[in-house]
Symmetry: C2
Subunit: 209 residues, 2 copies
DNA sequence: TCTCAACGAGACGGGTCGTCTCGATCGAGC
DNA sequence: GCTCGATCGAGACGACCCGTCTCGTTGAGA
């Protein structure tokens, strides 16, 4: 079954299909309009008509390629995220320091207002739409989680972590309290918080001497 | 500033204001209609008009008391949740067993379809609406988190946990991976998962011998 | 140069929004 | 019991957005 949230990119990605017609200009205009508008009016008041008008595009052009405003945002966000490809977490040999550095940077990123509106909008939409959330998780979240799992695996193989540790759950112990605080505003997102979190999580994962 | 998501309950709670007029029948009918409808058509297609029609109530009666459909759901959910007051987590002296028992029960509860729609809807709405999310967290989530913090505190005072442990973050290490999996569907919610999670979290919190 | 799908633009019926206006209903105070 | 006034159920109203459907127009592929 085709992933309705990620339609074929018209001219890009040399697929098997002959090729769609021109549209790249409209595509970019739609992404920019969607991201700008969701920041201005919020997700609830974001409309397809509004995006089309702002992008200088016909409504049909949007309806032709995306099934919902959430799908437009997902593509817009994914297109922006693809820009900086993941190159893995740093590995200086000091696991705690590496994790703290990355998570501190992520704190700053998540406290940036420009980021918040579209990202929150996507999570919210995915909460109520299972298919969308699967696309969202698979495209934007899962790769990030795997980076942490891999960094933990390297530490385990270096003898730093207990061999019996469940790496996936270990990564979730690091990331979920973080994203939960941000998403549901159950607590502040500070450098001190991630430092304590990293220390307390690693205490449980480390090999006993 | 008044909490717009939780208007004065008309006849209940003897406040300073003289008293609102009768409405309890309508109030209950609105809650029942809202919860039933959100389960049938989902949050996106839930409308104020629909709730009013189903409850046999004028639209104005809803608009008079609540600012949005999310606020109606929050009150409906809170009113249902107030029914079974929290009486604290079990304390048999075996922390791991107690936590596993409670979290396993919570797994079953969260896998219940009837629960999911309104709860997801509220989280989603709160994601995009800061004030709503603060009401939601304060009224429905924070009390639950505190139960875990208190159970951990009892264990720490019994000498089971390290005295330096941050209880709040400890509780989040237990609960956030859980709710994250449920909310964003990043993984399955099973008894085996919570068992491993509890073991792995407690490994880090326990006092070293 | 010709062809034809995608394009911008916008008309269309249907539905919901939030506000407003009706009598009717009921609690509070006399 | 009677008056008073706020809330009640009901629904009309204009505005907006939905998703579909035409229009000519544009531009890439043959």
């Amino acid at each position: 079954m085709a992933n309705k949230a990620a339609p074929d990119a018209p001219p890009g990605s040399a697929g098997g299909t002959p090729t769609r017609r021109y549209s790249e200009r409209s595509r970019q205009a739609i992404f920019e309009a969607a991201l700008a508008l969701v920041g201005e009016v919020g997700y609830e008041k974001l409309t397809i008509e509004g995006i089309a008008a702002r992008a200088g595009v016909g409504k049909q052009t949007i309806y032709r390629w995306w099934p919902s405003k959430a799908a437009v945002l997902l593509d817009a966000f994914g297109s922006a995220a693809d820009a900086y490809e993941h190159e893995g977490l740093p590995d200086t040999g000091d696991l705690a320091a590496d994790l703290k550095a990355v998570l501190r940077a992520t704190v700053d990123e998540f406290n940036d207002a420009a980021w918040q509106a579209p990202y929150r909008a996507l999570v919210a939409a995915g909460t109520n739409d299972e298919e969308l959330s699967r696309s969202f998780v698979g495209r934007l979240m899962e790769p990030g989680i795997r980076l942490y799992v891999e960094r933990l695996r390297a530490a385990r193989e270096a003898g730093e972590l207990d061999p019996d540790v469940d790496l996936r759950i270990g990564a979730e112990m690091l990331l979920s309290p973080f994203s939960q605080r941000w998403l549901m505003r159950t607590g502040e997102l500070t450098h001190a918080f991630v430092d304590t979190l990293v220390d307390q999580v690693l205490r449980g994962l480390r090999r006993r001497d």
